[in-house]
Symmetry: C2
Subunit: 456 residues, 2 copies
């Protein structure tokens, strides 16, 4: 694989500069004022694919943010790989915790520091550059299609529809995605399971205006007290979610599979130290890896209400809000869970308040069999780069669109991630090691090679 | 009382203009950047008292905001009334709910709309103008002292010390305060009991940074979930506060006094309608008037943590915060309660989080006997203006400094309030009816007259 290393070595600074150009566009999909940045990012991706060797590229409008598509069809009889990535990123709050500006990428300690450095501009750009490498060195063994969307971080509300409308164009044998992590920098892994997601915003209204907590306190329900108590009722003392029917479709994973899972390297002490907690938490009867891998969750992502400024304001507030999410496991339908939650949450509201539940987004879970050629090809490619066979893992994260691809396009996805846990995706100081970035660019062409061979 | 009505009639527009001048100073004591406004307000009060006829005025520095003092001693052998008011106001959040700018007073529907219109610039200014009226019409029957502080809304942390240092200067027979409400515009009332207050900020820290809720969710305690559950544990299903020892010093009010209290006009339907709630809340076994008058409370004044912006960000946050207050009843010591809460709250924290409790401020409750001359004088004065005898009531609010006055200066206070429930103090669209403002200015000289007569 001499030509791969040589090409990467000769072009590594330019690769980085091109990634930086993408990162500098603050394409935050959840904040409406960043809409123009989504178009800038779509344009940037189009130019990148064209320069890399795509025959045809286009920016497609959707009801939401645009999708950049590009393809190079070398021979219709050869297998086709459809690469998926997203150009949008998470918000940057709390901004004051960043050591360098999130949209001005910096190299420190061998890492790229920026929002999107890993998720998913860094990992997405690896595919563009690997594609370029194969084109320029005349080693492209398959047809390639790229679909880069702008709404992954808000649950891909329009990509399913877009896929439905472009089913013919998107025909492929496998979808290749780098939007996940490896176990650590020495231990490659392939994500074979993803959790689904349901996400709501709830609003609890007590009195019609903020009241003096002395004059009214004690007689009038405080919406923050009420919201806290409603949240508390959603999970019992054993960490089980109390929504009736919530576990109906949860597959109890077999003892055999739980044993395999337990074989993955995991140190509770290291894990606790990394996040500085004295004790882990979670549903009784399951291990931490199982908590994040095969069990659903109930987390409050945000809460606010009343006086949150400096000093002590005595007020009985009118309203309290929370953003609530459940990670779901394969088989749990997020639409059904969204309804079950809404119904239950409203049903436990005391009459002293009004409760509104709005479903904000959701996605289904996903499982990839470790027996398909694309999985095997990915396994071999990683092994060549890292020297060991990658571990199949079930991730706690959600990429809602992956199950939609299966539903709409009938195509399985292989999740060849190069992120690391320390990359702090979605958090301040997101980063991505240069080594992972370049390893990705080197590993991806190997995947194409093995996938083409195995598909013969 | 012809001279009173005549003087008020001739000067009413000027009175209002002078109040507006005071209101226009945004003297928010809980926000450090408003410090210069506190000095402007102190200066304004000094000029107001001088113009009204004070012989001597001064602005006193404290560790916090200044105190304006003024006096007119006409005869040392006559009784002395010490007027207390405060020049500071509450913050104005949420600013978007105000119909007109909070510090630009407007007259609409016969009311003054502004922060401080009632609490306590409007009610305080009544005393300055009543004093002026008595001086200018040669009817002042007592010595008068004014003490106007700038930290009432943050719990008067420095006024107790200032009183201690100026005990001789502050000698008086009664302290007269208008910082409370009447039952309604037709039913005057005198507040004979005030609740105490304890106020804390709590911080719950889970992981050392915001985490991806998918990758970590389920295994790592979410500080918002934990805070909600800790808050919920503080009050049981009967509305009783669960802090051990919390009720030890709470006086169970006698059946007789509860019956008197029940005689005050109160319509639950009207009360609920005014604040738009379907059902009231509160401790089992007590009426709404008792909930606010004679029972302690546990209210969350503010809560925040995690993602609170637009859209859906999936995050397992690092921290959650709440501002928590208890209204206390006479005999409960706020220092003791502050310690009991801190100890208990920390003791129920699970090991998966770190909890910090900071006591922000507090104040003792207060009871005024209805048998003292000053109470009787107030009763007569109200009766002259409103045509009916005022009702003695126990207010749910706190004026922590009132019990400090008794402790430090050994002087009782009479709480002659002219506010109305609809005045929305501490809330957006605070207002004060012109009629109450002018009625106050007319009633106060009658208090002085009767108090001087009864003290002979």
């Amino acid at each position: 694989m001499e030509h791969i290393n040589k090409y990467v070595e000769e072009n590594k600074d330019r690769f980085l500069e091109e990634l930086f150009g993408l990162i500098r566009i603050p394409s935050i999909s959840s904040i409406a004022s960043h809409k123009p940045d989504m178009y800038k990012a779509a344009e940037y991706w189009k130019e990148t694919l064209l320069a890399a060797g795509a025959d045809k590229t286009d920016i497609y409008e959707t009801e939401g943010n645009p999708v950049t598509y590009g393809e190079k069809i070398i021979d219709p009889s050869l297998p086709t790989v459809l690469v998926y990535s997203h150009m949008d990123v998470m918000p940057v709050d709390p901004i004051e915790l960043w050591d360098s500006p999130p949209f001005e990428p910096e190299i420190r300690d061998g890492k790229i520091w920026a929002r999107g450095a890993d998720d998913d501009k860094g990992q997405g750009m690896m595919h563009a550059k690997a594609f370029e490498l194969m084109v320029k060195t005349n080693t492209l063994p398959c047809n390639v299609k790229f679909m880069i969307e702008g709404e992954e971080e808000v649950g891909s509300p329009n990509l399913g529809e877009w896929c439905k409308n472009n089913k013919e164009m998107l025909k492929a044998d496998i979808i290749l995605v780098s939007d996940t992590s490896m176990i650590d920098a020495q231990t490659p892994s392939i994500t074979t399971g993803l959790r689904g997601l349901a996400y709501w915003e709830v609003k609890v209204t007590g009195p019609n205006r903020d009241l003096h907590s002395g004059l009214f306190g004690g007689a009038v329900a405080n919406p923050i007290n009420v919201l806290s108590s409603m949240i508390t009722k959603m999970v019992d003392d054993n960490g089980k979610i109390t929504i009736p029917g919530f576990y109906d479709d949860v597959e109890e994973v077999s003892a055999e599979e739980r044993e395999l899972l337990a074989g993955a390297p995991f140190s509770e002490e290291v894990y606790k130290k990394a996040i500085d907690v004295e004790k882990l938490s979670g549903e009784k009867g399951y291990t931490p890896m199982e908590h994040t891998g095969i069990r659903p969750t109930f987390d409050i992502c945000g809460i606010w209400g009343g006086y949150t400024g400096e000093g002590a304001k005595t007020v009985l507030p009118s309203k309290a809000f929370a953003k609530i999410s459940c990670r779901l496991v394969p088989n749990q339908d997020h639409h059904k869970i969204a309804d079950l939650f809404k119904e239950h949450f409203e049903s436990i509201a005391p009459k002293s308040v009004k409760v509104e539940v709005t479903s904000l987004h959701g996605g289904q879970g996903y499982v990839c069999p470790i027996t398909i050629p694309a999985y095997k090809a990915a396994e071999k490619a990683y092994a060549d780069t890292y020297g060991i066979r990658p571990v199949p893992v079930r991730s706690g994260g959600s990429i809602p669109i992956i199950s939609t691809f299966e539903e709409v396009l009938g195509i399985k996805s292989v999740l060849m991630g190069f992120g690391l846990e320390a990359d702090a995706i979605h958090s301040p100081n997101e980063n991505y090691p240069l080594e992972q970035f370049y390893n990705g660019i080197k590993t991806i062409p190997l995947f194409y090679k093995y996938f083409a061979e195995m598909s013969k």
